[in-house]
Amino acid sequence: MPANQQVAIVGVGASKFNTVTSGLSYKEMMFDAAVKAYADAGLDPRTDIGSFICCAEDFWDGNSITDEYMPDQLGAKLRPLFTVSGDGLLGIAHAYMHILAGVADIVAVESHSKLSDVVSKKEIINLGYDPVFGRLPHVDPRYLAGLEMRRYLEESGNTHEECAEVVVKNRGNALRNERAVYGAKVSTKDVLESEEIASPLTKLEESQPADGSVVVVLASRRRARKISDRPIWISGISWFSDTPNAEEMDFGQARYALHSSIKAYKMARVTNPSKQIDFAEVDDTYSYKELQHIEALGLAKHAGKFVSSGKGDPDGVLPVNVSGGSLGMGYFIEATPLIKVYEAVLQLRGMSGKNQLPNPKRCVVQSWRGIPTQSGVTAILSR
């Protein structure tokens, strides 16, 4: 079956990823990513791009009207631009709709993290919680990840050791990715014995903050064929929101990923993901989330065994987070999935360097919006 080929990625660019980017303002960091993406696409943003979409959350940027500060550094001054208060993959979904609706033939999507500018990280997470029930005083809000992890392991039968294997794999993969800043050789013992944040979750099972910006340029089928000799198609994309109430969350499975992937696979005419998907970039904000997402996306029935037996390794049957994922590359708030898109595009183009997989044709990229949410996006990319 030929892939759904209506909208394609025709250019990608990224700033240098780092733990702290104190030498550049967020605007300068974004310009760096934008210049590279437009050069990659061979387009002039001042004349060629019909719509600009920024994915940013006001609290993280520290401006209550973030969108007003976005145009200059993206080449979008006096051009159509809006900000999506959602993750970068939701921006790709908007771009897809803009193109199919005829709003624009070419769309640029940007997302960034300048977490090194944010002092009150915990408090911003806390502000996402329900004011009546969720904002417990004097406790780090990551307790919710501990609650979810325990129930998930209980229901799925996966083990804490298997969660630790995710960390070993992803940080190991990151060692071969020149853009990743958290590459390391760690053992499951290191992971399990690192200090507990909210049991059972330990410090090494959490992805660490990083700074960076990514810009992705998308085009309609007609324009993509002219612009690019290696377009990467968005052959399926879908997004779902579950409940915000901890009592009603299905910790045993990531329903947002399950339902969004069913729809995205249908669009992409994928009937057997574990056979038809060549590699996956899934959310791994925490170790157990990767396992939960592998299962929800239908890539394996028992994700713990899948990972611990090496099936998700770069030389396994279905490599998962070969880029290093968030555990290996860092956590970039709303930009996290756009970095996964960037890495997936390089893989599909055969430009991933030491991490390059042999001839991949189709992949799934999936996002989760972080605690305390149960929402996310799934996209199928193919060439």
């Binding site: 980017t21 550049l24 967020y26 300068e28 943003p45 001042r46 200059d72 001054k77 002092v119």
Partner: protein, 169 residues
């Protein structure tokens, strides 16, 4: 209302209901801290304010001098080319006399707030600042020429307020 929803519960509440506690509120206050990296261009700009100088960036393609400076030209979408020092005089683009404080009180001394186009920068370039040493409000005009009044060098911190205000030239 509709087939599904025949009525929606609730009624208007009085001030007494709040005061007596029969209507409850969920209260929360927050305190968020940020420390934004100023970046290449604004760091240089703020550092030069300490030296009593205003610096901009020149774009060789559109020939504009950008004040405050930025490392990229938003019109041409390319890197800017060089640092250019401007004068510390300018022209009032527009002004307003602000009479109300943040707590809604009337200010005893109103603030004269102006957008100032800096001499030596391209048209439409400059920054927001205060006017002072004004003899009469009638004296302030759009198009009025003004000059920066600087803090003593030892008091400057690398802030836009290293310029105390602009005064009529």
């Amino acid at each position: 209302m509709s087939e599904r929803v025949k009525f929606f519960p609730g009624r208007e509440v009085s001030a007494e209901a709040f005061q007596s506690g029969s209507v409850l509120l969920t209260e929360y206050s927050t305190d968020l801290k940020y420390s934004w990296a100023s970046g290449v261009a604004i760091s240089k700009f703020l550092n030069e304010l300490k030296n009593g100088k205003i610096v901009g960036r020149k774009c060789n393609r559109c020939d504009r001098i950008l004040v405050p400076p930025r490392m990229f030209c938003e019109e041409c979408f390319r890197l800017t080319d060089s640092w250019i020092y401007t004068k510390d005089t300018g022209t009032v683009n527009t002004y307003s006399i602000a009479y109300v404080g943040t707590d809604a009180s009337r200010l005893k001394e109103p603030l004269y707030i102006a957008v100032i186009n800096i001499d030596g920068a391209s048209p439409g370039m400059g920054f927001l600042h205060l006017l002072n040493e004004i003899k009469s409000e009638k004296e302030i005009k759009v198009g009025m020429k003004v000059r920066a009044v600087w803090k003593e060098q030892s008091e400057r911190t690398g802030s836009i307020l290293d310029i105390k205000y602009f005064k009529p030239l």
